[in-house]
Amino acid sequence: MVKLREYEQFVGSDVIDELELCAGRLQNVVVQNINSTAVGGGVAEILTRMVPLLKELGVNACWNVIKGGEKFFEVTKKMHNALHGQPVSFTREEIDLYLYTNELNRNEMDLKGDIIFIHDPQPCALVQAKKSSGNRWIWRCHIDFSNPDLFTWQFLKEYINKYDVSVFSAPLFARKLKIPQVLISPSIDPMSDKNKELPDELINSVLERFGIDKKRPIVTQISRFDYLKDPVGVVKVFKLVKKHIDCQLVLAGGGATDDPEGAKVLDDVKEIVENDPDIFLLLLPPASDIEINALQRASSVVLQKSLREGFGLTVAEALWKSKPVIAGAVGGIPLQITNKYSGLLTHSIEGTAFVIKQLLQNPDYAKRLGENGRENIRRNFLITRHLRDYLLLFLSLITKNKEVVYL
């Protein structure tokens, strides 16, 4: 288990000291996290790392998982897609099943926390157990909420408004609500397989395994094969760049085999690639964190040419490795990249090709952007900042509701 002080090597002792200062006011406060899965998915990944760190700081954090049948999770998956903007319709039975499952969990669970911290829509209706003079309730939305399906949003809003506070990952996701909305961005863990330092030999062996030439520049986009990540646009960009600069393109991601749309996207990409030997389409299995880390570290430039994006943590991962990143100005990406200071934001195929050429031919400029980018991630998007925001969120619920709180 990673200890909090091990992060000192990345953020400095003063940041850890201040975490302890914040946590000093939260000793033995019971924070009960509730979500819908113990393993798999981003929320479980965050809680696995966050709960032990909160405990180490003296917060009495615990984590419970709601129970539900297969049909319940089919409904919540539909709900998830609807909140991502897909038009979806629900039957009365589906809505009833969602509410019934929440009610069963409400009756079975010991909702003992001073603070009940509910993650995502699946357990959202547990808030019906909230009593007027009892504990404080947080609803944390981890998903892209920029364009939710109206019916689903109206349905959930009724429950969200019963909470004391809601939390979103990017300003774009804020809605009109009766309760306060807090911005807490996701984070990366510098000690995880995806982000830790790797020896050169390991990076080289990954390149060799995929047949990538380490001596020529590598332009990389890591993302699943999805129209919203614009892989076809990325290949078009690369073809414009390659007219003038000898380089390679790596498009690496998963999700094509079990996703009918993903397979179609991959076919479209293959068609435009036309067997170009300098374009590498890599379908990586789920447990490929080390490979992704190595590919990012071997890259000269990293792209995230998304047309739509949740937060876009692949941007943070690449910036953490001091890579110059070119990305679309969508979702949470502008929080991570201040254009021309810590990376480049582009809006078109031609514009993206132009700045790739600039970066490949001006390594000093590329290096400066990459270094600024890493520093931005170090200060604002590592797990320690995420932890600090959670501590402040908890403090905000147990202190007087003032704009400035003197402790």
Partner: protein, 226 residues
């Protein structure tokens, strides 16, 4: 109470929780309407958070309003004017709000007949506020030597709090210059602290500058100079 203790300076730090308002602007008129309506802490957030968020970049990006007007609305002149507001002059957030309104309204009068230019979709301005938590740190100074040592050790958040944020709290106990002048009688050093423009340098550079000023004062004292 011990005289030394009475005169000590306690270093504070602050951490902010960012609040989303759900209010957005896609053009200058909507930005102006927002600036008029939002809380003082929202004005504070958008004119100051970049200092700590981009603390490592030199030169830093300008404040949020200037950055958005320049990049999303492509109005470089107004963006430059808003980036150049001398924030050091103000100790009240309402004065900063009034200056922002004044600059934007002046531009609007001059371009009244031109249709409003909208930002590209997805690049709207999002108004945000903060809840600020102020904590005493373990660092306190009873004299100039200790003050220098504390300046070298405290977090960037503490330096940021005392230099940029404290004056808006209107509490004497947070004010470096006041303590230097009233408790130590170091009037010249206090004046040097006051004269600095902290908005045009990174906080680490600012820390170095403050430490250098204190060292110079200690050397002057050693040499028996005023």
């Amino acid at each position: 109470m011990d005289k030394k203790e009475t005169n000590s300076f306690r270093f504070y730090t602050r951490q902010n929780l960012i609040l989303l308002s759900g209010r957005r602007a896609k053009n200058l008129s909507e930005l102006l309407a927002g600036i008029k309506a939002v809380s003082p802490m929202t004005i504070f957030q958008h004119t100051h958070h970049y200092l700590i968020q981009h603390e490592h970049i030199s030169p830093e990006p300008p404040n949020d309003f200037a950055f958005w007007i320049t990049n999303a609305l492509q109005d470089k002149l107004l963006g430059e004017k808003i980036a150049s507001i001398d924030l050091r002059r103000y100790s009240d957030l309402e004065e900063i709000r009034a200056e922002l309104i004044n600059l934007i309204e002046t531009v609007q009068q001059n371009i009244a007949k031109i249709p409003h230019h909208n930002s590209p979709p997805g690049e709207e301005f999002h108004f945000m506020s903060v809840r600020s938590f102020v904590f005493p740190t373990r660092y306190s100074a009873h004299n100039l030597v200790e003050f220098k040592e504390c300046l070298e050790k405290v977090s960037v958040y503490s330096i940021y709090f005392h230099i940029f944020e404290a004056r808006f709290h209107k509490k004497d106990e947070f004010d470096f210059s006041l303590w230097l002048s009233k408790s130590l009688g170091a009037h010249k050093l206090a004046e040097e602290f006051n004269r600095l423009d902290p908005y045009t340098q990174t906080i680490e550079n600012l820390r170095k500058t403050l430490v250098k000023l204190v060292i110079n004062k200690l050397e002057r004292d050693k040499n028996g100079e005023a």
